[in-house]
């Protein structure tokens, strides 16, 4: 089984990455900040103005370490990856499945069932933890409203119907987000993105970007084409398959983390700034806190509900990518989405 390898996040603007033997060296103003052997890494994520040498790019490609370049606020810009690993037969199978409306609907249905079930769990868990009776009952009510949608999704037999239910559940779910936090200044008035208009949305967008990065590497690591999705339609530059895989993890890995960070006061409103366009962005310190929390979360152990194996949260998305590959190959009748308990 794949080992859970670390991700190197480079957030220091103006730093430079060089190859040093079989390791990455992070340099800043002629000083070495960090040196990490390539075999300890799964990927390198650079934020903003970070340079790297072509020798490093080649060594990373060969060692199967991807280098992602993100904007300072987590928007994906470019990636350096080596030859697609694995298997052209699997990719052909994936394209065939993506062209087959029935298969597409089945995979999309399972992804979204997983997402809604996990969203419900997040709401119910928050309801149990809430000290305020009113808040708790509102959260329970929201979770209750998701249940019938979940039943209807299970019967949906084309992808567009699934997309419709997804939208319906998402609007119900996000409507109850205000009840998930109890800290002033973090009130949420619905989901906004491109740009995010309040701190919670900025936080969520950033975490989703990190999750998308991980899902994308998971697809590539097991030979799937990250661009060809089932729930997400093909669009140039959009990693559809990675976004499909990510759906079931959004509530568990991103949303819950965002709310713990706020409720535990690890991030505060002061760590966010409003730009002239109205977009809300987090500052460097907050971004580092969020990245550290995200990495720590990924190292928590959990038992995989379908495989029954102990694993880390960070490896879950890799396991799901492999399960999807197994389904596409015909070794599994259905794609078993990750259901968080």
């Amino acid at each position: 089984m794949k080992r859970h390898l670390n991700t190197l996040f480079v957030t220091t603007e103006g730093s430079y990455l060089a190859k040093d033997g079989a390791a990455v060296q992070v340099r800043f103003e002629k000083k070495t900040l960090l040196r990490v052997p390539l075999h300890n890494l799964d990927s390198v994520v650079c934020f903003g103005r970070v340079g790297f040498s072509s020798q490093l790019a080649a060594a990373c490609a060969e060692a199967g370490v991807s280098i992602s370049l993100m904007s300072p606020h987590g928007r994906f810009r470019a990636a350096v990856v080596g030859f697609s690993p694995g298997n052209v037969l699997l990719r052909r199978q994936q394209y065939r499945a993506a062209d087959d409306p029935e298969l597409t609907a089945r995979i999309a249905r399972n992804c979204i069932s997983g997402k809604i079930a996990n969203s419900r769990s997040v709401l119910l868990r928050a309801a149990r933890d809430a000290k305020d009776e009113d808040r708790s009952s509102r959260l329970k009510l929201a979770a209750k409203q998701l249940a019938p949608i979940l039943r209807r999704v299970a019967k949906a037999d084309d992808a567009d119907t699934v997309r419709g239910y997804e939208g319906e559940s998402a609007s119900k779910y996000f409507a109850s987000f205000g009840d998930l936090t109890s800290v002033d200044g973090f009130q949420m008035k619905g989901r906004s993105r491109r740009p995010p208009l309040d701190p919670i949305n900025a936080l969520l967008s950033f975490l989703y970007a990190m999750l998308a990065h991980d899902a994308r590497s998971a697809c590539e690591a097991c030979g799937l084409d990250a661009a060809v999705g089932f729930l997400h339609r093909d669009r140039p530059g959009r990693p559809g398959c990675a976004l499909d895989l990510m759906e079931e993890f959004r509530p568990v890995l991103a949303d819950r983390l965002a709310f713990s960070l706020i409720n535990r006061k690890q991030v505060s409103c002061k760590g966010f700034e409003v730009t002239s366009s109205g977009a809300v962005r987090m500052d460097d310190k907050t971004r580092k806190t969020v990245l550290t929390a995200y990495q720590t979360r990924k190292q928590d152990t959990i038992e995989h509900p379908f495989l029954g194996e102990k694993t880390t949260m960070g490896l879950l998305v890799h396991l799901q990518a492999r399960l999807l590959a197994r389904h596409l190959r015909g070794d599994l009748d259905e794609y078993p989405a990750f259901i968080w308990k």
Binding site: R35, V36, P37, H39, K288
Partner: protein
Amino acid sequence: MVMLVTYDVSTASAAGKRRLRLIAKICLDYGQRVQNSVFELDLDHAKWVECRARLLDTMEPEEDSLRFYRLGNQWRERVEHIGTNPSTDLSGGTLLA
């Protein structure tokens, strides 16, 4: 797992000085330097076999000595650091620069 590699390389001759540099470089390919001739390597078994073979090829058994300590997967309980130059937890902590 984590391996601890320590060495004494005879630097009496020019060839010895060369071996010292090469052995340090090999160790750096697989892990991090924690003290002058002490390295912690966080790797899987396959990588360790590769590293060990390279080290044995480079050393001169008549003159140098190598010691390998197997700290295993539970190495965090077995290592305590006091003082300057703390090491980075390459597989567990957050790698942030």
